[in-house]
């Protein structure tokens, strides 16, 4: 049964990791615009020349 304690702390650590990733992504502006990236994919010219956008 004691193994559950370890599993729980692992799962909590994992979840904290996700929370931190989410925090990072909000701060870096990934959630500012949820629509244009989807449309940018359709821009034929850009996808040929570079993929940075």
């Amino acid at each position: 049964m004691k193994i559950i304690a370890m599993l729980i702390s692992l799962s909590l650590l994992l979840a904290l990791g996700f929370l931190y990733a989410f925090y990072k992504s909000v701060k870096s502006g990934q959630f500012d615009d949820l629509e244009s990236p989807a449309m940018r994919v359709l821009d034929a010219k850009k996808s040929k020349t570079n993929n940075q956008n």
């Binding site: 701060k27 629509e35 956008n53």
Partner: protein
């Protein structure tokens, strides 16, 4: 491609002034600058493609990146390219930019919402995990008997609840504290009491080893509260209410100095200076017209839809928009922006909604809960002090106003979303509560119940044969005068003919020779030597007047139905700044106006609204600047606009004119919100009564609390959302 010189419009030129420039740009160094520009016209993926391709067309532009959700483009450009050039370029491409300093201030609010998103994430994360640790309790498992796990679960729950209370729930505690310090009642007070008593009692239970507390309910409560707040911000982001009057008057003008045109700042001008006003530009100062012929649209200031004709030597006023050709204006006074606009922007302060009925309920609610808690504690104290303490805190916990606190934000939040989907943008959720109590609707006429853009034209006189009609259309289409435009549009189906000569006679009309006939279109005093009261364009062929076009503003489609539907709920009045010429036409559309007043100045309108307010709640609906103080005066003010780029001082809500016919449905939905709130109140009271009964009897076991409390929050949220959606569907709003 090399950048080509553009004819840069007056309104953009002011961006190049050093102090404005510094405020507008996001960053700059010696060679480049970056600026975020709102482009409301962005609407599809091709827009993104076009705008982001700008760097390959214009050397000076280093990069362009579109944010579709915010309708914004971030441009990096080299300093050789002035900001006014970038703005003009965007406008020429079909994306008129919205750059302004107050727009910049709104950016700060975006960060607030970013923080709300983070708080929501933290609360959600902790809520989920705390629930996980409380699972054994939900199922009545005996893990609690295993002291080791009970300990671990409890300690972890406490650790997880700390960020929920002190980070995510911080705003609620702070605002409750501020309200208490100011001696005011506020819905956040019972919420704060609930949060603190839940937290305090849970800590006591956990550290004294009595139980595991109610941290799951606590985290859930804050999580749901934050979701409601997030909704509200999303809606608010779509409209800017913060623009102010200065943005509509140019700060830089073309000054004529010894025949040369130079750019000058408006506050550097002196009395007697001459400024050049081009077509479609706003007159920045009061002055006399010294050259050119004015066709000046004062709609923004007086609400008068038809432009005024001004001859040389006559006065023109700041705020008017020139509609035909160039003007030279000589200043009559030294311009002072503050003075110019003081008349109609006197108070555009934010209106506080005084009647938040949830506040009233929360006052009684808080009182009742505390009374019940104290009384039952006193009664229990006769048998055991410890039991009395337990009963006291369990009453506070179980009566926590979760449902009460959640139902208003969720109901209003859902309604806000439905409204904004229908192009009706309400500034604050509380405005919906006010909208539901309105019993008198006051409408402005011009621009509110009439169309701003379309004029209705009718022809009176000898019948026009095809040849004459074509000739008249040909002549009318030569001029940019708004009345000629209206006539040529009215005769749209006729073909244009070859024109032999054409002349525009300022102040009188236009004339030209078509197919050997001399056609004149113009004012009554030119063609008939008499003045006419109506706005009319007379037609003469070879010197003989054959009839006239009567021009009036046309009413919005569906006006009659809107008025009839509204009149079932409220009284209706019209306060207009125009002449009484339309009185009979209005009575024909709707006979039962409570008041029908004309020739009112903006100040008189405000006074009239105030008079009605003695015994009634007034909704004032108007447009633009001339109504702003009346809109401010009303218990609720709605500004009608053709597009969202406009500006609406003093208004609590903005209605896009295409949704005018949905106004009765909006009011009905707002009225329904009262019913929804009542139902959810009854619903949550049932929970509370049941819970408090258990608590008072000292029977509140953790399992009952664990089931009762989350259930009441979730079910109220679901009930509210469902009821609003069903009603909106019935009203064809979704």
């Amino acid at each position: 491609m090399k950048s080509t010189p553009l004819d840069i419009s007056l309104k953009y030129k002011q961006f190049d002034l050093v102090e404005n420039f510094n405020q507008l740009v996001d960053y700059q160094n010696d060679t480049i600058y970056g600026v975020g520009i709102s482009l409301p016209a962005i609407h599809c993926s091709s827009c993104i493609e076009l705008l982001e391709d700008l760097p390959s067309f214009y050397e000076g532009i280093r990069s362009a990146k579109v944010n579709f959700e915010q309708r914004k483009c971030t441009v990096t450009a080299s300093k050789e390219l002035p900001l006014s050039f970038v703005a003009q370029l965007l406008e020429d491409l079909g994306y008129p930019p919205q750059i302004s300093i107050s727009q910049k201030l709104k950016e700060a609010e975006k960060t607030v919402n970013k923080n709300n998103l983070l708080k929501l994430a933290v609360a959600g994360f902790c809520f989920g995990n705390i629930m996980l640790f409380s699972m054994p309790h939900y199922f009545g498992l005996q893990v609690v008997n295993d002291a080791f796990f009970a300990r671990i679960f409890s300690v972890l729950s406490v650790m997880l609840s700390l960020p929920v209370v002190f980070y995510a729930g911080r705003d609620y505690l702070n605002s409750a504290y501020r309200a208490l310090a100011a001696g005011k009642s506020h819905l956040n007070i019972p919420i704060a009491i609930g949060i603190l008593s839940l937290f305090g009692w849970s800590l006591y239970e956990i550290f004294s080893g009595v139980g595991i507390g109610y941290l799951d309910s606590l985290a859930g409560l804050i999580f749901f509260l934050l979701i409601g707040k997030w909704f509200q911000h999303k809606v608010y982001d779509q409209v800017s209410y913060t623009r102010n009057v200065q943005e509509f008057i140019p700060l830089v003008v073309r000054q004529l100095v010894a025949g040369e045109t130079i750019w000058s700042r408006i506050d550097e001008l002196k009395k007697g200076d001459q400024v050049l006003i081009k077509n479609e530009e706003v007159i920045p100062v009061n002055g006399t017209l010294s050259r050119g012929y004015g066709v000046i649209d004062y709609a923004f200031i007086t609400g008068e839809a038809l432009p005024e004709q001004v001859k040389e030597g006559e006065q023109v006023y700041a705020g008017g928009c020139q509609k035909a050709g160039e003007l030279v204006v000589t200043l009559l006074e030294e311009p002072s922006i503050d003075k110019l606009w003081s008349t109609w922007s006197s108070q555009t302060s934010k209106k506080a909604f005084t009647d938040r009925w949830t506040d009233h309920i929360s006052k009684y609610f808080t009182l009742a809960v505390i009374v019940i808690a104290v009384v039952s504690a006193v009664v229990w104290s006769f048998s055991s002090i410890e039991k009395a303490l337990f009963v006291f805190s369990s009453v506070l916990i179980v009566a926590c106003p979760c449902a009460l606190a959640l139902s208003a934000p969720f109901t209003f939040g859902n309604i806000l979303r439905v409204f904004s989907r229908n192009n009706f943008f309400v500034k604050e959720a509380e405005a919906i509560a006010t909208l539901s109590r309105i019993d008198h609707v006051v409408l402005d006429k011009t621009g509110t119940i009439t169309e701003n853009t379309a004029m209705s034209v009718s022809y009176i006189g000898e019948e026009l044969d095809v040849a004459t009609a074509s000739a008249v259309k040909t002549i009318a289409s030569q001029s940019t005068h708004p009345l000629s435009n209206a006539v040529s549009e009215f005769l749209g189906k006729y073909q244009s003919l070859h024109i032999n000569s054409f002349e525009e006679i300022p102040g009188k009309g236009i004339q030209g020779e078509v197919a050997g006939r001399m056609i004149r279109l113009g004012a009554s005093h030119w063609l008939r030597d008499t003045e006419s009261k109506d706005t009319a364009v007379y037609v003469s062929v070879d010197g003989e007047v054959i009839g006239h076009f009567k021009i009036s503003a046309s009413y919005r489609s569906g006006l009659k139905e809107v008025l009839n539907r509204l009149s079932k709920r409220v009284r209706l009045s019209i306060l207009s700044g125009d002449n009484a010429g339309e009185r009979e036409a209005l009575k024909e559309i709707f006979p039962n106006f409570f008041q029908l007043k004309f020739n009112l100045t903006p100040q008189q309108k405000t006074v009239e609204v105030g008079k009605i307010q003695y015994d009634q709640k007034v909704l004032m609906i108007g447009d633009g600047l001339n109504d702003s103080s009346a809109i401010e005066q009303g218990d609720l003010g709605i500004a009608i606009t053709e597009n969202l780029n406009g500006f609406y001082p003093g208004s609590d809500a903005v209605l896009v004119s295409t949704s005018f016919d949905k106004l009765p449905a909006f009011m009905e939905l707002a009225g329904y919100s009262k019913k929804v709130l009542k139902w959810s109140l009854v619903f949550s009271l049932c929970y509370n009564v049941a819970g408090v009964t258990f608590a008072v009897l000292g029977l509140l076991t953790p399992i009952i609390a664990a089931i009762l409390m989350p259930l009441s929050s979730v079910s109220v949220v679901l009930l509210d959302t469902l009821l609003v959606r069903i009603k909106s569907r019935k009203l064809n709003l979704i």
